[in-house]
């Protein structure tokens, strides 16, 4: 770190790194550790966006000229890319695009049919994008909402009998400490056995924990492309029967085969379109294909993405654990690690870290109920890794925080 006088911003020295070439645009002075909020976009994704805008900027699903046909092909490939990533078949599942995870969850939960379900089941550690719509959905359907605990390993703690005709909505990976829904398969099986459905919030799982979701039987999986190296976009992967059962409230262009004075016919063989009223974010959808392809082939440091991330996660977890005065929220290493210092405000630490070029998050990360009300914790400081991250980044973050903690104590 070069110092330019007491009150001017320090110019971090450029560090020679083994960063993936796809992120070579990144300012070497910045250590971005907020991938859980939004991942950095690799160059191929940026290129896909630019290519759409500059060479075939047409509406999808409705035009006959060449650009439009290309858009349709690319969008179909994007849907296919998502199914491929999850190992799911298009015969049972359809892919819809929307704004983000939150919107996807709401589109499903607020349009579920009346009379079919007996309760909404979720857990205490859910993000507000699950926690809040489960409240409104229970209210709309006139059924109770049940809050369950999650074990330290992330498993949902439930008695199967309580899953009777349940709408189970839980995350596959936590945005606080990365814990995984380790009993996903059991949960889906037990819920289905009792006439219920499982809707997964896969916002944190899609980027780095896809193994858990492979070939899942869950009824719907919602996630955000912007947390998995894509452009800003929400994705809903849902069983065709679930989509067909919805009491549609959001309707519009692109969803119908025919319209009369007081009625309409929905598109017969395109259940994915039922959640896509109006024109879509074509460039972002097409860029998602760029992201899914990229995730499949990228080898940071010659390793698989999961290997690269677990090496970085271990290093970050171990080194943060050694800083005196810091309490780890995570029970184990994960690409998402939260900590807090009893004597230092996390927001302050985040502002101070930013001065050294470290971009980390502070606060309750939309899990207020769990962190603030249930655990009574102060605002946390969160570091979340991405495929752009390097060992040098991890060490710089650790060094900066260790120095701050020492100086401030």
């Amino acid at each position: 770190m070069k110092h330019n006088g007491l009150f001017r911003r320090a110019t971090p020295e450029a560090i020679r790194t083994d960063r993936l070439a796809d992120f070579s645009y990144l300012d070497p002075g910045v250590v971005y550790l907020d991938s859980a909020c939004q991942s950095l976009r690799p160059q191929p994704v940026l290129d896909a966006l630019t290519e759409y805008y500059t060479s075939y900027n047409a509406c999808g699903g409705r035009v006959k000229y060449a650009w439009g046909r290309r858009v349709d092909d690319e969008v179909a490939a994007a849907r296919q890319g998502v199914l491929g990533l999850l190992g799911l078949s298009g015969r049972h599942y359809a892919v819809s695009f929307t704004l983000n995870t939150t919107f996807g969850l709401n589109l499903l939960l607020q349009q579920l049919p009346h009379g079919r379900y007996a309760r909404v089941v979720t857990s205490h550690i859910e993000h507000n994008s699950v926690f809040l719509p489960t409240m409104t959905a229970a209210k709309r359907l006139g059924i109770p909402r049940l809050l369950l605990d999650r074990a330290a390993d992330g498993a949902l703690l439930y008695e199967p009998a309580r899953l009777e005709r349940a709408i189970v909505v839980v995350n596959a990976a936590s945005n606080i400490d990365g814990r995984l829904l380790t009993n996903l398969a059991d949960l889906v099986r037990d819920t289905h056995a009792r006439g219920g459905i499982v809707i997964l919030d896969a916002a944190q799982a899609m980027a780095h924990e896809r193994a858990l979701l492979q070939k899942t039987d869950a009824d719907a999986i919602c996630f955000s492309a912007h947390k998995m190296y894509g452009a800003s976009l929400g994705v809903i992967v849902a069983r065709r029967e679930l989509l067909a059962s919805l009491e549609l409230a959001f309707v519009g262009g692109g969803m119908v085969a025919d319209v009369r004075e007081d009625s309409y016919d929905l598109l017969p063989n395109d259940p994915g379109a039922l959640l896509e009223p109006g024109l879509q974010a074509w460039a972002e959808i097409i860029a998602l294909r760029g992201a899914t392809d990229w995730i499949g082939r990228v080898r940071p440091g010659g390793r698989l993405p999961t290997e690269h991330l677990s090496a970085l996660s271990e290093r970050l977890f171990d080194s943060l654990s050694d800083i005196p005065g810091l309490t780890m929220v995570n029970a184990a290493a994960s690409p998402v690690i939260s900590v807090y210092a009893a004597k230092q405000d996390s927001h302050r630490l985040a502002v101070f870290l930013s001065q050294s070029g470290i971009a980390a998050r502070s606060g309750y990360f939309c899990a207020h109920h769990y962190l603030k009300q249930r655990l009574g914790l102060p605002p946390l400081l969160r570091f979340s890794l991405g495929l752009h991250s390097t060992m040098a980044d991890v060490d710089r973050a650790h060094d900066a925080l260790a120095r701050l903690m020492k100086g401030l104590s």
């Binding site: 911003r9 405000d345 502002v351 101070f352 001065q355 020492k406 401030l408």
Partner: protein, 353 residues
């Protein structure tokens, strides 16, 4: 406190740059909550402080603690000085309106008022009280002064009629004429602004159009009189009014005033300066010499000299002092009442026309 200070500082910054208006609104809501004693929007306060401290934290994290305390102290001082300066502005504005000076205690030090010789206030100033560790007195006296100023506002707004404030035995520069309006000046023979006012009056032909009279008011100071011979001259002026010279076209007291204010000795020094620099024997000699020159006999001069030192004259002077301080309420000499208004300090030829 921090929010309030931030609001004050941002108020100035927002006036200069639109960039800060966003924060200003935040600081305002934060301040309003604080003012009504609801918990402040801590994240705003915290955020602001943290961003200010961040450059230091990156270099010397150990100094963040003390710097944070220093910021709070600075915030406290910003608020304190703002409240104080607001108070001073209100007080000065009220004083300027009521007394024609922003500093009632020492009007000559106020550059906003008309030029004048101030009548000093004998109570200690705020600073003097503080220096003497009399904090209660410092604030107390200041509030009393402000109270006096506010209570004098109605008198400032009234319609001033000089004839209501005439002293006993009033004399007029140009014999009184029932058709003319009365004008009255409060003067100190030694005050140079009174000299200038008199010269302006002459240039404007003011006394030709009005019945001009005066109250001689020797300004007191902590140790005696501001101009050492002013009391003596006033005593003679009052004695001359009590013993007017029959048939004099211009009353002798006025002739003496006119000499002091408009004429010079052989060396070109104004008589006012001569008297201000003379001792009382020299002054007495001059006054007696002039009285004779203006038509008094030696015997009449002797009478005047003895009346000048009498209790009767002392009572007249005391009465006039009360008149000036408690009815006219001025702190500036000269003050002149005409055209329904009280004019504090020097009045220009144009304004006298």
């Amino acid at each position: 406190m921090f929010c309030i200070a931030a609001f004050i500082v941002l108020l100035f910054m927002a006036a200069i740059s639109a960039r800060y208006r966003r924060y200003l609104a935040k600081a305002a809501s934060c301040t309003l909550r604080r003012v009504t004693f609801r918990p402040c929007d801590t994240t705003f306060k915290q955020d602001l402080k943290d961003h200010m401290l961040a450059p230091l934290a990156a270099r010397r994290p150990g100094l963040v603690g003390p710097a944070s305390v220093a910021l709070e102290v600075v915030a406290f001082l910003v608020v304190l000085t703002t409240i104080w300066s607001g108070y001073v502005v209100v007080e000065s504005a009220a004083n300027l309106y009521v007394y024609g000076t922003c500093n009632k205690q020492d009007s000559a030090s106020c550059s906003l008022g008309a030029e004048a010789c101030s009548i000093p206030d004998q109570t200690p100033t705020f600073g003097e009280s503080l220096a003497a560790w009399d904090v209660v007195g410092a604030f107390g006296n200041d509030f009393v002064r402000l109270g006096e100023t506010f209570s004098a506002i109605p008198s400032r707004m009234q319609n001033w009629d000089a004839s209501e404030y005439l002293p006993a035995n009033a004399t007029y520069l140009n014999g009184p004429d029932a058709k003319k309006e009365t004008a009255l000046e409060v003067i100190d023979p030694g005050c140079t602004y009174c000299l200038q006012l008199f010269q302006n009056i002459e240039k404007a032909g003011f006394a030709d159009r009005r019945n001009l009279s005066y109250i001689a008011f020797p300004i007191q100071s902590a140790t005696g009189y501001k101009f050492p011979n002013s009391l003596l001259v006033t005593q003679y002026l009052e004695a001359l009014r009590l013993n007017p010279l029959a048939d004099a076209k211009t009353p002798v007291d006025w002739q003496i005033l006119k000499r002091i204010y408009t004429e010079e000795n052989d060396e070109g020094v104004s008589w006012q300066s001569v008297i201000n620099g003379a001792d009382s024997a020299e002054t007495t000699a001059l006054l007696q010499e002039w009285a004779q020159e203006f038509g008094l006999s030696r015997a009449q001069v002797d009478t005047v000299a003895s009346v000048a030192g009498s209790t009767e004259v002392a009572q007249v002077i005391a009465h006039n002092k009360t008149l000036v301080e408690e009815r006219i309420h001025t702190v500036k000499i000269p003050t002149i009442i005409f055209d329904g208004r009280r004019h504090d300090g020097l009045v220009s030829v144009d304004d006298l026309d």
